[in-house]
């Protein structure tokens, strides 16, 4: 990737318009945004959101872009953190017609585009699935011959089944033979659950991931303990560290 470094343009704040909201799971909501003069983005990038109160108080947070580069409008999926300051506003107060100030896209390492090829192993914890969904949607938008060169497996860890984001869409993608999806639940499973029910571990990665010899690229996104463990386990399984890209969430309310 080449990023021009001379006289870089400033990432300007823009006021996006919320055109729709969509509930994705318990505690997670997608904001559909009409962003004026959006310069385009790559799958995996994020935006900074800024909220300014009438008294001048401001708060900023970063959110991953869920929509693929091919589509406008821009979609963000927000996990509502009980104790947070920004995510409860985005999930509970913001409604269609409202403006939302943002700038981006930001980040150029945790990105995937079809030209990078595969196989692709995506590992998500909680709302860490959001940038990976942009990658899956980006791949899905490609022509069939391109898709065939990039087989994808997704391993997605969630506490409970009703916290799984994009579950229906992922199940549809899997049903279409487009991607191998494995869920694992760490805090109890519903009756009839046949997928994994424990924290991701090395045995699970060895079972559902690609062998290191395949030359697969891995993208791992989620809370720090999950990402730290999974990245280490992939290296133990023989993955070259340069083929394991990570995005770790601290608590960002």
């Amino acid at each position: 990737m080449t990023i021009p470094h001379t006289a870089p343009a400033r990432l300007e704040w823009r006021v996006a318009r919320v055109t729709a909201v969509r509930e994705e799971a318990r505690h997670a909501r997608t904001l559909v945004l009409d962003v004026p003069e959006w310069p385009g983005h790559r799958a995996g990038q994020h935006v900074d959101v800024r909220l300014v109160a009438e008294d001048g108080y401001q708060a900023q947070r970063s959110y991953s872009i869920a929509s693929p580069p091919e589509s406008t409008p821009v979609e963000l999926t927000i996990e509502r953190l009980e104790d947070g300051e920004v995510s409860p506003y985005l999930c509970d107060v913001l409604r269609p017609g409202d403006g939302l100030e943002l700038r981006g896209p930001i980040g150029g390492y945790f990105v995937w585009e079809t030209s990078l090829g595969g196989p692709l192993l995506l590992v998500a914890g909680g709302s860490g699935v959001v940038p990976l969904m942009a990658m899956l949607r980006h791949r899905h938008a490609a022509a069939a011959p391109v898709r065939e060169t990039v087989p994808v497996r997704l391993l997605y860890s969630s506490r409970t089944v009703d916290e799984l984001i994009y579950r229906d869409e992922l199940t549809r993608l899997e049903g279409a033979g487009d991607v191998d999806v494995h869920f694992t639940l760490t805090r109890g499973v519903p009756a009839g659950w046949t997928d994994f029910q424990r924290r991701i571990d090395r045995a699970m990665l060895a079972e559902v991931g690609w062998p290191a010899a395949s030359g697969a690229r891995a993208y791992v996104c989620g809370p720090t303990p999950l990402v730290e463990a999974v990245a280490n386990q992939l290296v133990e399984l023989g993955y070259d560290p340069s083929r394991v890209r990570t995005e770790r969430f601290g608590p960002t309310g």
């Binding site: 400033r10 900023q60 506003y89 770790r248 601290g250």
Partner: protein, 208 residues
């Protein structure tokens, strides 16, 4: 930046910042210590670890881990500010002042440049003006909160430059290379600011 900021309808501070004068614009205080890095955490055995200061002409000064441990130590307590918006107050570190290292490097013939590139295990680099790591403003830290610095936070040793955004405090640091020009490092090539002063909110390339 727009002259008059867009007001978010119905948004109010949930809680006023406890120490607003210590919080740069756009930051919030956290009590946790989040981890951010681009890939797996490198593991380097202390027996294989060394730290170098070098210049373009080939002069260098190098310390093994054991040699490094004999250098005079400092225990700075500082506020740190991550470009991902969290700030953490009163973090306690132990390490060697970069001034101490530069003094010994100069004695060994290393010629200073206007800039340095910090380089790390895993190929990570970051660029800084030399002035930002001199004058008691930067350390090579190997202790955090009374214990050895954990690998996920950059151990065995990381650069600590608390007055700049924290990605400048390169984890797993192995040396400083003198540069005549400012050469963008890993994140800087990917759109992040070359200096990264949190008080001027220099997050991304093009920010003032």
């Amino acid at each position: 930046m727009a002259d008059s900021p867009f007001i978010a309808r119905g948004f109010h501070a949930k809680r006023a910042p406890a120490k607003p004068d210590r919080l740069p614009p756009g930051q919030y205080e956290t009590r946790d210590f989040p981890v951010l890095s681009a890939g797996p955490t490198p593991r380097t055995a202390l027996s294989k670890w060394s730290f170098a200061i070098e210049d373009a002409a080939g002069h260098s000064m190098r310390w093994s881990w054991d040699e490094f441990q004999t250098l005079p130590r400092e225990t700075p307590t500082v506020d740190i500010h991550c470009v991902t918006k969290w700030s953490k107050f009163d973090t306690k570190w132990e390490g060697v002042s970069v001034d101490t290292l530069l003094e010994k490097a100069r004695a060994a013939g290393v010629v200073e440049g206007d800039f340095v590139t910090a380089f790390s295990d895993g190929g990570y680099t970051t660029n800084l003006p030399l002035a930002d790591v001199k004058g008691g403003k930067a350390w090579i830290a190997f202790g955090y909160d009374g214990a050895p610095l954990p690998p996920e936070h950059g151990g065995p040793a990381r650069l600590l430059v608390p007055h700049l955004y924290f990605w400048k405090s390169a984890k797993w640091v192995r040396g400083l290379r003198m540069m005549q020009r400012d050469e963008p490092g890993f994140w800087e090539q990917l759109g992040y600011h070359d200096r990264g002063d949190p008080w001027r909110e220099q997050r991304y390339q093009g920010d003032p």
